[in-house]
Protein backbone atom coordinates (compact mmCIF):
# COMPACT_ATOMS: atom_id res chain seq x y z
CA UNK A 1 0.00 0.00 0.00
CA UNK A 2 1.31 3.48 -0.86
CA UNK A 3 2.45 5.65 2.07
CA UNK A 4 -0.01 8.55 2.46
CA UNK A 5 2.94 10.92 2.92
CA UNK A 6 3.98 10.21 -0.64
CA UNK A 7 0.60 11.46 -1.81
CA UNK A 8 0.53 14.43 0.58
CA UNK A 9 4.04 15.65 -0.25
CA UNK A 10 3.26 17.02 -3.73
CA UNK A 11 0.13 18.69 -2.39
CA UNK A 12 1.59 20.50 0.63
CA UNK A 13 5.32 20.28 0.16
CA UNK A 14 5.70 23.64 -1.52
CA UNK A 15 3.40 25.55 0.84
CA UNK A 16 4.94 27.88 3.40
CA UNK A 17 5.03 26.72 6.99
CA UNK A 18 3.05 28.68 9.56
CA UNK A 19 5.17 31.05 11.62
CA UNK A 20 3.18 29.90 14.65
CA UNK A 21 2.62 26.32 15.74
CA UNK A 22 1.17 24.97 18.97
CA UNK A 23 3.44 23.14 21.38
CA UNK A 24 2.63 19.43 21.12
CA UNK A 25 2.86 19.03 24.90
CA UNK A 26 0.84 21.97 26.20
CA UNK A 27 -0.85 23.45 23.11
CA UNK A 28 0.60 26.94 23.62
CA UNK A 29 0.97 28.88 20.40
CA UNK A 30 4.68 29.28 19.73
CA UNK A 31 6.37 31.75 17.42
CA UNK A 32 9.00 29.85 15.46
CA UNK A 33 11.03 33.03 15.11
CA UNK A 34 11.24 33.59 18.88
CA UNK A 35 14.72 33.19 20.29
CA UNK A 36 13.68 32.34 23.86
CA UNK A 37 13.14 28.63 24.45
CA UNK A 38 9.65 27.54 25.44
CA UNK A 39 9.02 25.90 28.78
CA UNK A 40 5.65 24.20 29.23
CA UNK A 41 3.46 25.15 32.15
CA UNK A 42 2.61 21.90 33.98
CA UNK A 43 -0.99 22.92 34.56
CA UNK A 44 -1.43 23.72 30.86
CA UNK A 45 -0.01 20.32 29.91
CA UNK A 46 -2.59 18.71 32.18
CA UNK A 47 -5.41 20.88 30.83
CA UNK A 48 -4.58 19.91 27.24
CA UNK A 49 -4.32 16.22 28.11
CA UNK A 50 -7.65 16.28 29.91
CA UNK A 51 -9.22 18.12 26.98
CA UNK A 52 -7.87 15.51 24.56
CA UNK A 53 -9.27 12.75 26.78
CA UNK A 54 -12.63 14.47 27.31
CA UNK A 55 -14.61 11.73 25.59
CA UNK A 56 -12.99 9.03 27.72
CA UNK A 57 -13.50 11.09 30.88
CA UNK A 58 -17.15 11.72 30.01
CA UNK A 59 -17.71 8.02 29.31
CA UNK A 60 -15.99 6.82 32.48
CA UNK A 61 -19.00 6.90 34.83
CA UNK A 62 -21.19 4.96 32.41
CA UNK A 63 -18.45 2.40 31.76
CA UNK A 64 -17.82 1.97 35.49
CA UNK A 65 -21.53 1.48 36.19
CA UNK A 66 -21.72 -1.08 33.39
CA UNK A 67 -18.70 -2.94 34.73
CA UNK A 68 -20.02 -2.89 38.27
CA UNK A 69 -23.22 -4.48 36.97
CA UNK A 70 -21.31 -7.29 35.30
CA UNK A 71 -20.49 -10.58 37.03
CA UNK A 72 -16.84 -9.64 37.32
CA UNK A 73 -17.66 -6.19 38.64
CA UNK A 74 -20.19 -7.47 41.17
CA UNK A 75 -17.66 -10.00 42.43
CA UNK A 76 -14.92 -7.32 42.68
CA UNK A 77 -17.30 -5.08 44.62
CA UNK A 78 -18.19 -7.97 46.94
CA UNK A 79 -14.48 -8.70 47.58
CA UNK A 80 -13.77 -5.02 48.20
CA UNK A 81 -16.63 -4.76 50.67
CA UNK A 82 -15.50 -7.91 52.48
CA UNK A 83 -11.94 -6.53 52.74
CA UNK A 84 -13.22 -3.23 54.03
CA UNK A 85 -15.23 -4.90 56.78
CA UNK A 86 -12.35 -7.12 57.84
CA UNK A 87 -10.05 -4.14 58.53
Amino acid sequence: MMDARVLIRPMFGSFPQSRYMPCVECGTSLDRTASAPHVCDAEQVLDLRLFQLRDEVAAFDAQLAEWLASARGRFAAWIAERDRRSR
Binding site: R5, I8, R9, F12, S14, Q17, S18, P22, G27, S29
Partner: protein, 142 residues
Protein backbone atom coordinates in the same frame (compact mmCIF):
# COMPACT_ATOMS: atom_id res chain seq x y z
CA UNK B 1 -15.82 58.36 15.52
CA UNK B 2 -13.29 58.24 12.69
CA UNK B 3 -13.13 55.45 10.13
CA UNK B 4 -10.07 53.85 11.73
CA UNK B 5 -11.85 53.61 15.06
CA UNK B 6 -14.94 52.07 13.43
CA UNK B 7 -12.79 49.51 11.62
CA UNK B 8 -10.87 48.70 14.80
CA UNK B 9 -14.08 48.19 16.79
CA UNK B 10 -15.51 45.93 14.06
CA UNK B 11 -12.42 43.73 14.24
CA UNK B 12 -11.65 43.66 17.95
CA UNK B 13 -14.86 44.11 19.89
CA UNK B 14 -16.85 41.01 18.89
CA UNK B 15 -14.11 39.13 20.75
CA UNK B 16 -14.69 41.18 23.88
CA UNK B 17 -18.32 40.17 24.29
CA UNK B 18 -19.61 43.16 22.33
CA UNK B 19 -20.96 41.52 19.18
CA UNK B 20 -24.40 43.12 19.51
CA UNK B 21 -22.93 46.61 20.01
CA UNK B 22 -20.65 46.15 17.01
CA UNK B 23 -23.57 45.16 14.78
CA UNK B 24 -24.68 48.80 15.06
CA UNK B 25 -21.63 49.59 12.92
CA UNK B 26 -22.68 47.20 10.13
CA UNK B 27 -24.87 48.58 7.36
CA UNK B 28 -28.07 46.72 6.55
CA UNK B 29 -26.80 46.26 3.01
CA UNK B 30 -23.17 45.63 3.93
CA UNK B 31 -21.27 43.05 1.91
CA UNK B 32 -18.28 41.13 3.24
CA UNK B 33 -15.99 39.29 0.86
CA UNK B 34 -14.18 36.69 2.92
CA UNK B 35 -11.34 34.81 1.32
CA UNK B 36 -12.30 31.18 0.98
CA UNK B 37 -16.04 31.76 1.36
CA UNK B 38 -18.03 30.64 -1.65
CA UNK B 39 -20.29 33.71 -1.56
CA UNK B 40 -20.17 37.17 0.02
CA UNK B 41 -21.76 37.60 3.43
CA UNK B 42 -24.48 40.20 3.61
CA UNK B 43 -25.90 42.50 6.25
CA UNK B 44 -25.87 42.19 10.02
CA UNK B 45 -26.94 38.53 9.92
CA UNK B 46 -24.07 37.63 7.64
CA UNK B 47 -21.61 39.42 9.92
CA UNK B 48 -23.09 37.79 13.03
CA UNK B 49 -23.00 34.28 11.50
CA UNK B 50 -19.42 34.74 10.34
CA UNK B 51 -18.16 35.97 13.69
CA UNK B 52 -20.18 33.40 15.63
CA UNK B 53 -18.56 30.55 13.70
CA UNK B 54 -15.15 31.60 14.99
CA UNK B 55 -16.34 32.62 18.46
CA UNK B 56 -17.72 29.10 18.82
CA UNK B 57 -14.44 27.54 17.72
CA UNK B 58 -12.26 29.89 19.80
CA UNK B 59 -14.34 31.05 22.79
CA UNK B 60 -11.34 32.68 24.49
CA UNK B 61 -10.18 34.29 21.25
CA UNK B 62 -8.97 37.84 20.88
CA UNK B 63 -8.07 39.93 17.87
CA UNK B 64 -5.71 42.88 18.06
CA UNK B 65 -5.32 45.45 15.32
CA UNK B 66 -1.59 45.90 14.77
CA UNK B 67 -1.64 48.70 12.21
CA UNK B 68 -4.03 50.74 10.10
CA UNK B 69 -3.94 52.99 7.07
CA UNK B 70 -6.91 55.14 6.05
CA UNK B 71 -7.62 57.12 2.91
CA UNK B 72 -11.00 58.76 2.51
CA UNK B 73 -13.66 56.21 3.37
CA UNK B 74 -11.27 53.24 3.05
CA UNK B 75 -9.45 51.67 6.00
CA UNK B 76 -6.95 48.85 5.82
CA UNK B 77 -6.21 47.05 9.07
CA UNK B 78 -3.54 44.48 9.75
CA UNK B 79 -4.45 42.28 12.68
CA UNK B 80 -3.44 39.26 14.75
CA UNK B 81 -5.90 36.79 16.23
CA UNK B 82 -5.18 34.37 19.04
CA UNK B 83 -7.37 31.73 20.64
CA UNK B 84 -7.71 28.20 21.93
CA UNK B 85 -9.68 25.81 19.75
CA UNK B 86 -12.20 24.31 22.15
CA UNK B 87 -15.19 24.32 19.79
CA UNK B 88 -15.87 22.69 16.45
CA UNK B 89 -14.73 24.55 13.35
CA UNK B 90 -15.82 23.56 9.85
CA UNK B 91 -16.22 19.94 10.89
CA UNK B 92 -12.86 19.83 12.69
CA UNK B 93 -13.16 18.36 16.16
CA UNK B 94 -11.87 20.73 18.88
CA UNK B 95 -8.15 20.24 19.37
CA UNK B 96 -7.42 22.21 22.54
CA UNK B 97 -4.55 23.88 20.68
CA UNK B 98 -3.84 27.58 20.69
CA UNK B 99 -3.54 29.25 17.33
CA UNK B 100 -2.17 32.59 16.20
CA UNK B 101 -3.40 33.95 12.89
CA UNK B 102 -2.47 37.07 10.96
CA UNK B 103 -4.83 38.79 8.58
CA UNK B 104 -5.83 41.96 6.77
CA UNK B 105 -9.19 43.65 6.45
CA UNK B 106 -10.01 46.31 3.88
CA UNK B 107 -13.18 48.21 4.66
CA UNK B 108 -15.25 50.93 3.03
CA UNK B 109 -17.06 52.94 5.66
CA UNK B 110 -19.62 55.69 5.27
CA UNK B 111 -22.08 57.31 7.65
CA UNK B 112 -20.36 55.51 10.53
CA UNK B 113 -21.15 52.05 9.14
CA UNK B 114 -19.19 49.53 7.16
CA UNK B 115 -20.64 49.16 3.67
CA UNK B 116 -18.26 46.71 2.08
CA UNK B 117 -15.26 44.81 3.35
CA UNK B 118 -12.69 42.35 2.09
CA UNK B 119 -11.19 40.06 4.71
CA UNK B 120 -8.31 37.73 4.16
CA UNK B 121 -6.17 35.80 6.60
CA UNK B 122 -3.68 32.99 6.61
CA UNK B 123 -6.11 30.11 6.43
CA UNK B 124 -3.38 27.61 5.61
CA UNK B 125 -1.50 28.58 8.78
CA UNK B 126 -4.69 28.14 10.81
CA UNK B 127 -5.25 24.69 9.33
CA UNK B 128 -1.61 23.74 9.96
CA UNK B 129 -1.88 24.86 13.57
CA UNK B 130 -5.08 22.86 14.03
CA UNK B 131 -3.47 19.82 12.46
CA UNK B 132 -6.09 19.75 9.71
CA UNK B 133 -3.40 19.87 7.04
CA UNK B 134 0.09 18.53 7.51
CA UNK B 135 2.98 20.73 8.43
CA UNK B 136 5.10 21.47 5.42
CA UNK B 137 7.03 18.47 4.24
CA UNK B 138 10.05 19.38 2.18
CA UNK B 139 9.28 18.89 -1.46
CA UNK B 140 10.62 15.59 -2.69
CA UNK B 141 13.31 15.91 -5.27
CA UNK B 142 14.54 13.07 -7.33
Amino acid sequence: MDVKEIARRLIEEPWRGKLDEVLELVGEDAVAHVAGSPAPLTGKDGFRDFVTTYLTAFPDGTITVDDQIAEGDIVVSRWTGRGTNTGELMGIRPTGRQVTIEGISYARISDAKVRETWITWDTLAMMQQLGAVPETIPAQTT
